[in-house]
Symmetry: C2
Subunit: 328 residues, 2 copies
C-alpha cells in the first residue's frame, strides 16, 4: 500500500524543484509504481502553467542539438526549462540506450534546466502516458517551458507530440523518401516547421516541397504553419531565435483563439484519461488472468487451433466487467 | 448485431482467395467492425501455415522496393505472397496517404499476389492489432508467404515485426545518426540484416558498424543474424535471392529448435490476447463513460484543476470492473 506521507513529501520537494526529487518522481512514473498515481494526484492542481513544446522529426534530423539550442534561448531569457528526450525502446535491454547520449554539458548542469531521457519498458505500451506524466511533473515543478523531443514516426510519438501546446516538426534538406514518410506520419500535426542543417545542399528544394505539402493541408483552425531555417550546430547557432519567435507566434495565436485552445486541451485530456483507463485496467485484468492457472493450458489450446483467441477474450471480458459489452 | 451468415460467407470467400472478399475482410478489421471478430473466429482454425516475414527499417531505406523484389522471388517459386504495407498514420486525414504509392505494377496484378496498405485511425491505437489480424486473414486465405513491411521506429512497429516468424531489418550505407536510432529501437529484434543500396559509398563502414553492434547483442536463442547486401532497384536486382536464402536459413534454424519456435509463438499469442482485451474493454468502458452525460462536466472540472484525472479514472475503473484493483 502506498504511503500517503511519502507522496506528500515527494510532491513538496518536487514543487521546490529539487532535482533529485524530480528524478525520483519520473522514475516512479517510468516504473509504473503505484506511488506515482498518488504523487500525480497531488501535483495535478499545480499544473497548466508551463508552455509545452513538442519537437519531432526523423532520425538524423538533429533534434537533440536543436532542442538544446532552443532551451539555451529560453534560459538566456531567465526561463526555467525542462527537457524530456523520448528514446525508442530497446526491446531486449528494456532501457534507454540513447539515454547516455552527450548533450550540451553547459546546459545539463545549469540550475534552471532539467534534462531527462525516457524509454518504454515491456509490451504494454505506456510510453506516451509516462511521457505525458513526466511533463505534468515538470509543469508542477514550475518549469516555464517543457520541451519534449521525440523521433517522429510511430503512433506513440504522434500521441506524445499531440499532447504539446505547440508542435515543431524538424526536417533536413535532401531527405527524399523521408519527407514522404514524415508527411504521412506527422506532417499535419506540425504547428511550426524547421529545416535544420539548412547550410546543406537541397535546402531550396526541401523548402519548396514543404510549402507544397503545407499548401495541401488546410487546417481547421486557420493557422498557417511557418517554416524556419536553422543550423543548430553552427557557432553561434543560426535561426534558433527565429524558431523561438515562431513558437511564440503560434502560442499567441492560440491564446487569441480561446476556442482553439480549449478544444486542443480537451482532446489532450480525454486522450490522457483513455490512456490511464487502458493502463490501469489492462495490467489488472492480465494479472488476474495469469493468476488463473488455466491460462497457460488455454494458450496451448489456441496454439493447437482447438480454440481461437477471440473466444478466450470474450470470456475474460465477460468475467471482468460488471456490464460486459453486448455480444460477448 | 452481426449477421453470422455474413461472416460464414465472407470467411468462405476469403478461404477461396477471392481478392474482393479479402479486401473487404481487411477493411472490417481496419474499421474495427464488430463483424471482424466473427470473421476472425471462423478463419483462425485455418491459420498457422504461412511464413510471416516482418521487414522494417528507417524511412528511405528502400523497404518497398526490397519487399516487392523479395515477393517476386517467391512468386517465381510458385508461392502465393501477401504483402501488408504499414503506413504511419495521418492523424488529420485518418487514412493511408502513402497507400497509393506506386509499387511494381507487374506484381500488383499477379494472381498469386495480394498487396494492401494499412494505417491506423483514431486515438485508441490498434494498428499493431489490425495488422496482426490482417496477416492472420491472409494466412487463412492460403498465402504461403506474408510480408509485413513497416517503418521501424515506434513501439507499434516494433510490436508488428515482433509478431512475424522472421524479422528483417533494412539499413542503408551512410545512415550516421540513423543507425544509432535504429539500433535502439529495433536492432536487437532483427533475425536477418540487409544493407540495401549497397552500391553506395560507405557500405564497408556500415557493414563494420553493423557487425560491431551484432557482436554486442548476444541472443538467447544462439542465432547469429547474417548481413546480406542488396541493390533492390538494380536490373536485375542484386542480392535478393541471398536475402530469401538467409530468411530460409533462419526459418530452418527455428524449425530445428522447436523450443525457440514455441516460445516465440507463445509470446506473440500472449501479446495478441493482451491487445484484444485492451481494445475490447477500453472501447466499451469509454463508450459507457461517454453515455454518462456527466463526463463532459467532469472533464471541464479537471481542466479547471478542481478535480484530477486520476480520481476520475479510479471512479470509472471501480464502476466498470467486477473486481477492481486494490487501492482504487
Amino acid at each position: 500500500m502506498p504511503d500517503p506521507l511519502f507522496a506528500d513529501n515527494l510532491a513538496k520537494s518536487i514543487r521546490e524543484r529539487r532535482p533529485r526529487a524530480i528524478a525520483r518522481g519520473i522514475s516512479l512514473i517510468e516504473n509504473d509504481d503505484p506511488a506515482a498515481t498518488d504523487l500525480l494526484k497531488r501535483l495535478f492542481p499545480h499544473t497548466g502553467q508551463a508552455k509545452i513544446i513538442g519537437l519531432t522529426g526523423a532520425p538524423g534530423a538533429g533534434k537533440s542539438s536543436l532542442t538544446d539550442k532552443l532551451a539555451q534561448v529560453y534560459v538566456e531569457r531567465c526561463q526555467r526549462v525542462g527537457i524530456i528526450a523520448v528514446d525508442p525502446s530497446s526491446p531486449f535491454s528494456g532501457g534507454a540506450i540513447l539515454g547516455d547520449r552527450i548533450r550540451m554539458p553547459k546546459l545539463a548542469t545549469h540550475p534552471n534546466v532539467f534534462i531527462r531521457s525516457m524509454a518504454t519498458r515491456g509490451n504494454l505500451g505506456g510510453l506516451a502516458r509516462a511521457t505525458t506524466e513526466a511533463v505534468l511533473l515538470l509543469d508542477a515543478a514550475g518549469y516555464d517551458v517543457v520541451i519534449v523531443e521525440t523521433v517522429g514516426v510511430g503512433q506513440d510519438e504522434v500521441d506524445i507530440v499531440k499532447a504539446a501546446d505547440v508542435t515543431v516538426v524538424v526536417v533536413v534538406p535532401g531527405m527524399g523518401d523521408d519527407i514522404q514518410s514524415i508527411k504521412a506520419g506527422i506532417m499535419e500535426i506540425g504547428d511550426v516547421f524547421v529545416i535544420n542543417k539548412a547550410d546543406r545542399d537541397g535546402v531550396e528544394r526541401t523548402q519548396m516541397e514543404l510549402e507544397a505539402l503545407l499548401e495541401l493541408a488546410v487546417r481547421a483552425d486557420g493557422w498557417r504553419p511557418p517554416i524556419v531555417r536553422t543550423v543548430a550546430t553552427a557557432t553561434p547557432p543560426v535561426g534558433v531565435e527565429d524558431l523561438a519567435a515562431a513558437i511564440a507566434r503560434y502560442l499567441s495565436f492560440v491564446t487569441a483563439h480561446p476556442e482553439v485552445r480549449a478544444e486542443r486541451r480537451r482532446r489532450i485530456l480525454e486522450r490522457r484519461i483513455i490512456e490511464l483507463i487502458r493502463d490501469r485496467i489492462l495490467s489488472h485484468i492480465w494479472q488476474q488472468a495469469l493468476r488463473d492457472g488455466r491460462l497457460k493450458d488455454t494458450i496451448e489450446r489456441i496454439q493447437n487451433r482447438e480454440l481461437d483467441p477471440y473466444t478466450l477474450v470474450d470470456y475474460i471480458v465477460r468475467k471482468s466487467l460488471k456490464e460486459p459489452p453486448p455480444g460477448s
